[in-house]
Amino acid sequence: MAQGMSRKPYVRPMTSEWIFRHPRYVRYMVREFSCLFIGGWTLLLVWGLKQLAEGPAAWAAFLQWLTSPASIVFHVAALGFASYHSITWFNLTPKALPVQRGEEFLPDRAISGAHFVAWALVSVAILFLAGAF
């Protein structure tokens, strides 16, 4: 560096505007935001267990609340966010879990596809246990 040359680097502040710099950041934030709904649904499940422990009357009131419009709106939103999270997450799995067979890597679709198949099987098993069939 030339002698006598002064350095005064300018540091630009990091603001929350980055979220809107490109749609990929919005998609990412939606994926992060989905945790609020999934967390909320988990709390609801804990609350349901508590009502169950408190006796038939409390449990019946809980089941009654589940049929309310507020509960249905929440469940639809939670299902939407949980699906969005799972689908975007499974689509990313080929990056994290590359499988090399011989010289070549398995195609991305094989890795994410295996996750979707496992997801479907587990869902069917849970529905079966819940007596849906």
Partner: protein, 247 residues
């Protein structure tokens, strides 16, 4: 020869006279097939010789001309003017301090790169007359993609985690560490783990994935970081659940 009128809005900063950066507009006639770097060179040659920016190869190999073009990290030599409509806004790479105009201070990245030991650390010292290291095509393919990094730092400019937490080692450095960890000739993984398996290493990443989207060489640093996380997790379980097992 077709020409097009191009309006460039360039972020300028002179550390000797300016308190903060400001945009300056340049209107120049450019050839249809030019890239943004050609337009900047044209401005420097014909309008404003004080405009400062880094560039070298003009063929997406050296990694010098990374800058924000309309808010997106790009190599100026690979960004064709015909792909942009209206005013083209050119800024220095995000998340790096500005040295002058489009030139950023890259000391932080250079230091992090050195910390991850991006070179072969042989498993055991090999005698000079021991012949070459042999590698199968499959062993080469396991890490080849990660060798393509040109250190252009677009991934750092795309990564909000690096912007928010500057201590984060960042995508390119971790991808390069992973490149050597995956190499059958290398035995230095343990030495690199200290840096890349730490909180400020791979665990700072929340998998935004932007680094891989902007990478001009399709290195996929996001993939490398997730693979580092998985291997580090396996290490942790082995260490805690199977303490008798020492490698």
């Amino acid at each position: 020869m077709t020409e097009r009128a191009v309006e460039l809005e360039v972020l300028r900063y002179n550390p000797e006279t300016d308190r903060e950066p400001r945009f300056q507009r340049y209107s120049v006639n450019c050839r249809e097939e030019w890239v943004v770097l050609d337009a900047l060179n044209h401005v420097k040659e014909t309008v404003d010789p004080t405009l400062s920016y880094r560039w070298s190869c003009h063929m997406a190999v050296c990694g010098s001309c990374g800058m924000m073009i309309n808010g997106e990290p790009k190599l100026a030599c690979k960004s064709f003017l015909r792909d942009y409509a209206g005013v083209i806004r050119v800024e220095p790479l995000a998340h790096f301090p500005i040295e002058r105009d489009l030139v950023t201070v890259i000391d932080d990245f250079m230091a992090k790169l050195a910390r991850v030991k991006p070179y072969l650390i042989p498993k055991e010292p090999a005698p000079a007359n021991g012949g070459e290291y042999r590698q199968t095509p499959a062993e080469l393919k396991k890490f080849k993609q990660f060798t393509l990094c040109i250190n252009c730092m677009l991934c750092y400019a795309a990564c909000p985690e690096y912007g928010i937490i500057p201590k984060y080692i960042g995508p390119a450095a971790i991808a390069l560490a992973h490149r050597y960890n995956q190499d059958s000739r290398d035995g230095g993984r343990e030495a690199r783990q200290e840096e890349i398996a730490a909180t400020e290493g791979a665990w700072e990443c929340s998998f935004v994935g932007a680094c891989s989207e902007v990478c001009p060489e399709h290195v996929d640093p996001a993939g490398a970081i997730q693979q580092v996380k998985i291997r580090s997790t396996v290490d942790w379980y082995k260490e805690h659940l199977m303490p008798w097992r020492k490698e």
